[in-house]
Structures are given as structure tokens and as C-alpha cells.
């Protein structure tokens, strides 16, 4: 099937909002190359459970495509047109299984040495429509706070080395009341700016109770039953003797929140997000540090929040991968030092992911060795590449960021 053959009836099985969106844009979809359309439909088909920021981006993207003349679109997408897509892929049911098509296309691009050309086409296209439809500035400057080192008395290496060039490193932080101050900060921001999914708290262990309901909370401990259910599904494939990577990917891609015990009645969007963390993230099911880092990345990328609190907790020690996947080691020892190193890198990645969003020049960032004396602050009002021996409290640091 080619995109030119699409009709409104092609989307009958889509969820309501996705169907309406696709039908409204079917004329544009018909004119786009096959190497691109299923990738767009991969986003469209999930429209009903996407975050508002994602829905806006999809709206913007199609508004941009509609606003271009046929010639302009053809010029813009010539890179995609030049990608050869074999008949076998065209024959897939890419309208209803765009994710499977995407995986097959990826394998084909690698095997036929077209990956670089595809990347170039995608970069050119993304740059064009993002320039025409830039993301709006956030309601308030973004703030991310990352707590690392729980359970670790000291660090074997200097902390925040990758972040130091961008902010001020403080070596004499008074840890007293630090957590309470951070919770208050997040709560106040969530109370003042009540847009949904704009404030997040991600915990690599057990989530603390926050006084505000306006904060989206995701925790490694809270998802223990879902993680266990995912691992059970993975073991089913492994033990069947018939499963390879493709079988497992397909199984994971077809996993719905209900399949792993997540409740979609109150917040289907968040339930689907949690499912994606466990089905699309590598290592999120078994290592809490990976879970916290990847969840923060995905929340920043997809929901574009203004407040992000990430609290890393010690992960389990490394075991043979098959044993970790077996889920039999519920009381495995933790590795606090290794977790601190993971989290230090995780803090750096969280900052990078925040800086990819609009308003980056005004965004603020704080990373703290929880309960200890080391922290780094990054923001427009904070000098870069400076080591400060000043006595500081977490309250002062947050006030300094503004």
C-alpha cells in the first residue's frame, strides 16, 4: 500500500481523537513519501493518550505541512523520497502497525546503507518545521532538581564534573532541611501553575508523599508490580524457545497498561507513559538508576514540563542478565557507589534534556549530593565554571536560581 491510497476509511479502527486527526489530514498524508508517513502515523495513532505538548507538536507539524504548496513539500521531503522502501515493507499493515513498520524500516536502512541519508532527510525536515513552528516559551522558567547519592557516604570521584563548566559548584552546602525545601519549591510551583503534566517527581525508590496533586509522580517502587509483569512477559518469550529479539520487541510494543496491571481509568495518558518507560526503555525494568534517568528524559522530551524533580536511589548489584530478568532476586544487595556514578551521569543527561526545550536560556538546574555538602547550580544568574567555598543552604541555592 502506498500513502496515495489512504482514505478516511483507512483510519476507522483508530481511537476517536486519532481518527479525527488522521481524517482531517488525509489529503496531506496522501502526498507524503512512504518512508515518512508510517512514522507520522506512529504518533497520530496514539494521539488520544499523548501529553498536551505532544498533541500541540503534532498539530503544529501538520499545520506546517498543510501550509506548504505541493512543490514546497516535495522539495522539503526529497530526502525521504530518495529512500528506497522495498515492496515487502510497503505491503505491511503500516496504517495499524506503524511501530512494527518503523522497526522493519530501521533494519532495512541499516542493511542497505541508507541510514545516513535518512538521518539527513529527517534532520532537514525537522529543522524546517521547527523553525516555522517553534515551541512556545514556558509559563515560567524551567527548573530541574536532581538528587543523587542516596545511601552513599562519600564519592570515589569528584562529582558533577560534566556539569561544572556550565554553573557554580558548591562544596559547603548545609544539608539541613534540604529535602523539605525542595518539596516546598516543587509544590509551590505546581500550585501556582496548574497546567497538567507540567510538574514531575520521579523517584528511583519509594516516592515520598507530596502535598500537591498537581505533580505527576512516577517511582521505581510504585511500578514494582508492573515491572514484575513485564519481566514475566519477557520470560514467556525466552522460555518458549521460539523468541528472538523481534518477537520480544513485538510483544513489548503490543503491551497495554492493562496488561501489566496499570489503571487507565484515572489518567490514561500517565498510564501509557509508564508503560512506555518499561517497554521502550532498556534496563528500566531492572536498574532503578536507569529507570530514573530514562523516565526523566522521556518526561522532559514528551511533556515539556516546567518543573522536574528526580531523586535517584541505589540500584541493585549487577547479576547475570538472565537472572536479573528472571525477577527472582527481589532482595538483591544494592550498589550505592555504582549508583552514585550512574546518577551523576543521569544528572548531566537531565540537564542536557532540559536544555533541548524552549526557554533554555532562562532555565535553571540544581543537582545535589543528597544529605551531603556538594551541589551544583546552573542558571542565567549563576556564574559558569566557578567553584564556590561559600556556606550555602538548599534554600539559598534555590533562591539564587530565582
Amino acid at each position: 500500500m502506498q500513502p496515495s491510497e489512504l482514505t478516511a476509511a483507512s483510519f476507522t479502527l483508530y481511537p476517536p481523537k486519532a481518527r479525527a486527526f488522521a481524517v482531517a489530514n488525509v489529503a496531506v498524508l496522501q502526498q507524503l513519501p512512504l518512508a515518512l508517513v508510517p512514522l507520522l502515523l506512529r504518533e497520530v495513532i496514539a494521539y488520544d493518550v499523548r501529553f498536551p505538548a505532544e498533541q500541540r507538536m503534532l498539530d503544529d507539524q501538520f499545520a506546517y505541512l498543510r501550509s506548504r504548496s505541493r512543490d514546497e513539500r516535495d522539495r522539503l521531503l526529497r530526502g525521504f523520497v530518495s529512500i528506497s522502501v522495498p515492496e515487502k515493507l510497503a505491503a505491511m499493515d503500516w496504517v495499524h502497525q506503524p511501530q512494527q513498520f518503523s522497526e522493519a524500516l530501521t533494519a532495512h536502512l541499516w542493511a542497505t546503507h541508507q541510514m545516513d541519508a535518512f538521518r539527513a532527510a529527517a534532520d532537514e525536515y525537522a529543522a524546517a518545521w521547527r523553525e516555522a513552528k517553534p515551541d512556545p516559551e514556558p509559563a515560567v522558567p524551567r527548573l530541574s532538581i536532581v538528587l543523587i547519592g542516596q545511601g552513599c557516604s562519600s564519592s570515589p570521584h569528584p562529582l558533577f564534573r560534566k556539569l561544572r563548566p556550565y554553573g557554580t559548584y558548591f562544596s559547603h552546602v548545609d544539608p539541613a532541611n534540604g529535602w523539605d525545601v525542595i518539596v516546598t519549591t516543587v509544590t509551590v510551583r505546581a500550585t501556582k501553575h496548574q497546567e497538567k503534566y507540567q510538574h514531575w517527581y520521579i523517584d528511583g525508590g519509594e516516592a515520598a508523599d507530596l502535598p500537591s496533586r498537581g505533580v505527576s509522580v512516577v517511582s521505581y517502587a510504585g511500578l514494582a508490580p508492573a515491572r514484575s509483569a513485564i519481566l514475566k512477559r519477557m520470560r514467556t518469550v525466552i522460555n518458549s524457545g521460539n523468541g528472538g529479539p523481534e518477537a520480544l520487541r513485538t510483544l513489548l510494543a503490543q503491551t497495554h497498561p492493562e496488561d501489566i496491571g496499570l489503571d487507565v481509568r484515572n489518567d490514561a495518558t500517565l498510564a501509557h507513559f509508564k508503560t512506555s518507560i518499561l517497554t521502550e526503555g532498556s534496563g528500566t525494568q531492572i536498574f532503578s538508576t536507569t529507570f530514573a534517568q530514562w523516565t526523566a528524559r522521556e518526561a522532559l522530551r514528551r511533556a515539556q514540563p516546567v518543573t522536574m524533580l528526580v531523586r535517584f536511589a541505589p540500584r541493585q548489584r549487577q547479576l547475570p542478565m538472565n537472572e536479573l530478568l528472571s525477577g527472582q532476586h527481589l532482595v538483591n544487595e544494592t550498589d550505592p557507589v555504582g549508583s552514585l556514578i550512574d546518577a551523576d551521569m543521569g544528572a548531566y543527561y537531565t540537564w542536557i534534556n532540559q536544555q533541548r526545550l524552549s526557554g533554555a536560556e532562562k532555565s535553571n538546574f540544581l543537582a545535589w549530593f543528597e544529605g551531603k555538602n556538594e551541589a551544583i547550580a546552573i542558571g542565567p544568574s549563576v556564574p559558569r565554571g566557578v567553584i564556590s567555598p561559600s556556606q550555602m543552604t538548599i534554600e539559598k541555592l534555590i533562591a539564587m536560581l530565582g
Binding site: 538521518r119 529479539p245 532498556s282 534496563g283 528500566t284 542478565m321 549508583s339 550512574d342
Partner: protein, 388 residues
């Protein structure tokens, strides 16, 4: 000041990072004498030596510059930087234009052609391997070429299905983990579980091989190890790569193969997203490379006539590329994930030389061919004139 990162062209950013190798090279080359930097002229290309041996060590789990040879990464590879680099010719930009999956990339290294098969399929390479060229052209016996490979997925790497070569002309392949598993039933697995870690990219994928008879035969006839000795020694080791190097050294002692290929794999734990374990893997690989070189230098069969090639099969994604998640994977195909390095040591190899021009990973096989005297006629690479 606070640039929005996605406004940077990711490719340009990666290119900048790749070029920062020069910074490392300048600092590290200080050990060997900066005068030799970038000044190589291929006037003294090695005359083919007699009775040469080659040991190839690949990292089947890419490692990035910033965790290895960039200034901030050198603390992770002290043996490569301080001990081996001064004795080596160092290729600073080895580009892999093929599929960035470890089995298919290692197969591409071994054939000198970018193989295109499914990375997770248990299939042989389509093109003749270096082992087949070596054995057929030089009429070498079976036990003169060996592969020590990390996981079951690599069990077909020793021999292609090319009709002109193929069956019976490849290398012997030892999968140390499979060997250990075969030896374990009488001894239990609890104390050895750390040595049986699996494919990190798809940890569930461990295709079963034939029964354990082959392994037991390898253990006793080839490695001259009793099951008890092998299992007992394995208990003292910390990781699958240590087990691989232990087996490789035993092979060198017992069989002294002229062509030995060792693929390390611990680094690939990075796919689990744990930075500390990724760094542990790099540090272990660094130590094991020195251990292998010391084994070469202390073995009369190898000393003074062995060329060792050390190279990762490719890199990993850059922190900057929004399509990836930094060190965790190698999925973006960005410049950093495609670019790595190669270190060459041995007789006639100029020491402390840095080659800054880009070369390709598929140049390895024709280069080995030029040194050992066979023709890698199906390879798409070219011999590296500086050492061939």
C-alpha cells in the same frame, strides 16, 4: 550562553567531538615524543617478515572517546595510554560505515566487507573471513587460526558460507561461556554466574548450540585443561572477558596459533543504562589488553614476531544527539558512534606514531593480509600503508 542544545547540528557537534581526538593525541603523544605526531611518511613500510603471528583484540561493545582517549577519559585506560600507546602506531579515526550491531560489525571486521545480515541471526558471514584467506592461501592447518568470542551469537564467526572458501577452511571458535556452562553441571552454577552474563543488547537472546561434547573435547584436547582445573580457575575470575582472556592465553600456550582473534564484550553492559558498569567494563578491557600483550611478550612462540591490533568495533552515541541516550546505545549512526580508533603494536611497527587520516574498519583484513602474505580478494578495504 545557555544554548538550546537542539539548535546545534548534531552531526557538526559529533564531528567536533571526533576531532577532539587530536587533543588527546597531543597530550598522550607527549609520552612518546610529539615530534612523531602526524609526520608519518610510508617510506619504511614493513618488508614481509617470516613466521609472523597476528593477534586481534576487538571490543564488541563500543567505547567512546570521552571515556577512553579524551583527556577526561584517560583515567579509565591507563594501560593503553601509558604502556601500549608509546609502543604503537595509533589510527585516530577508524570509521565504520556498516551496521552498528556487534555481531554483524565484528563479522564485517573479520571479512573486510560491510556485512548486512540480521545482527541477531545465527548465520555465518557472507564473505570469506580473514581466517579462510589465511588458511587457504598459506595452506595453514585448522589449529593455526582461532577465535575466542563472547557469546553464543558469535559461534558462526569463524567461517563464511562463501563457496570458494567456507567449509573446513575457517577458524576454530571457542565460546568460553559455553565451555564453562558445559563444564558446570557437576559443579553447580551459583559461584560462576558472574561469568555467564549474556548478550547485553538483547539479554534474552542466547541461541542454543550443539551439545556439550564439542566443548569437552576442546577443553581436554586443545586447551589441555581438566574440567576440574578449568572450573576451579574460573572461580577466581571476575567477568566473562577475564574468562575469554584466560582461554586465549591457554590457547597461546598449547596451540600457539598464528592468527588469534579475541572479542571482548563486557563494555556492552552500557545497554543497561548503568554508566558505572560501562566504565568498569572499559577499565577491565584496558587491563586485559595489557595482559594479552604481556602474554605475547613472555611467550617465545610469539615474542618479537607478533602484531597485535586493538580496536573497538565502533563507538557509541554522543551525548548531544537527541535521537539517542548518550553512552547507552549505538543506534543513531552519528559520527561519534561510527568513529573509533585502532592501536597496532609489533615488530616493524613504528612506535608513538599517530595516523590522523580517516581509515575504515574494513581495512583491517587486507592489512593483516599484507603482513602475513595472503590476499583478501573479496575485501572492500585497503591495506593500511603505514603498517602493511
Amino acid at each position: 550562553m545557555y544554548d538550546k542544545l537542539n539548535l546545534l547540528d548534531p552531526r557538526e557537534a559529533s564531528r567536533r567531538i571526533a576531532w577532539s581526538r587530536r587533543d588527546f593525541l597531543r597530550s598522550a603523544a607527549g609520552v612518546a615524543g610529539a615530534a612523531s605526531l602526524f609526520s608519518f611518511a610510508p617510506a619504511r613500510a614493513l618488508v614481509q617478515l617470516k613466521n609472523q603471528k597476528v593477534v586481534v583484540v576487538t571490543f564488541g561493545g563500543g567505547a567512546r572517546d570521552e571515556e577512553t582517549f579524551a583527556p577526561e577519559g584517560q583515567e579509565n585506560v591507563p594501560n593503553l595510554v601509558k604502556t601500549l600507546f608509546p609502543q604503537s602506531t595509533f589510527y585516530a579515526q577508524v570509521v565504520n560505515r556498516g551496521i552498528l550491531g556487534h555481531y554483524v560489525a565484528t563479522a564485517s571486521l573479520a571479512t573486510g566487507v560491510y556485512e548486512t545480515f540480521n545482527n541477531f541471526a545465527t548465520v555465518p558471514p557472507e564473505n570469506p573471513t580473514v581466517f579462510e584467506y589465511f588458511r587457504k592461501d598459506l595452506k595453514r592447518p585448522l589449529h593455526d587460526a582461532w577465535v575466542v568470542a563472547p557469546s553464543n551469537g558469535f559461534n558462526r564467526i569463524g567461517e563464511s558460507d562463501n563457496r570458494a572458501y567456507g567449509s573446513g577452511l575457517g577458524a576454530g571458535v571457542i565460546l568460553p561461556k559455553h565451555l564453562l556452562q558445559a563444564a558446570l553441571p557437576a559443579h553447580g552454577t551459583i559461584d560462576y554466574a558472574h561469568l555467564l552474563r549474556d548478550n547485553y543488547e538483547t539479554p534474552f537472546y542466547t541461541p542454543e548450540l550443539a551439545g556439550s561434547e564439542v566443548e569437552m573435547q576442546q577443553l581436554e584436547d586443545i586447551l589441555k585443561l581438566s574440567v576440574n582445573d578449568f572450573v576451579h580457575h574460573a572461580m577466581s575470575l571476575a567477568s566473562p572477558d577475564e574468562l575469554s582472556v584466560y582461554i586465549a592465553k591457554q590457547l597461546m600456550r598449547q596451540m600457539a596459533p598464528s592468527l588469534l582473534w579475541i572479542t571482548l564484550h563486557d563494555i556492552d553492559i552500557a545497554h543497561s543504562g548503568t554508566y558505572s558498569l560501562y566504565i568498569d567494563g572499559i577499565q577491565r578491557s584496558d587491563r586485559l589488553c595489557l595482559e594479552i600483550w604481556n602474554a605475547i611478550e613472555s611467550n617465545p612462540e610469539y615474542k618479537g614476531r607478533t602484531t597485535m591490533f586493538i580496536l573497538p568495533d565502533f563507538g557509541r552515541d554522543s551525548d548531544i544527539d537527541a535521537g539517542g541516550n548518550g553512552f547507552q546505545h549505538h543506534r543513531t549512526g552519528d559520527t561519534l558512534s561510527r568513529t573509533t580508533w585502532m592501536m597496532v603494536l609489533g615488530p616493524g611497527v613504528r612506535q608513538g606514531i599517530v595516523i590522523d587520516r580517516p581509515v575504515q574498519s574494513i581495512d583491517l583484513v587486507p592489512t593483516i593480509g599484507a603482513r602475513l602474505g595472503f590476499s583478501a580478494r573479496f575485501s572492500k578495504g585497503v591495506p593500511l600503508t603505514e603498517i602493511a
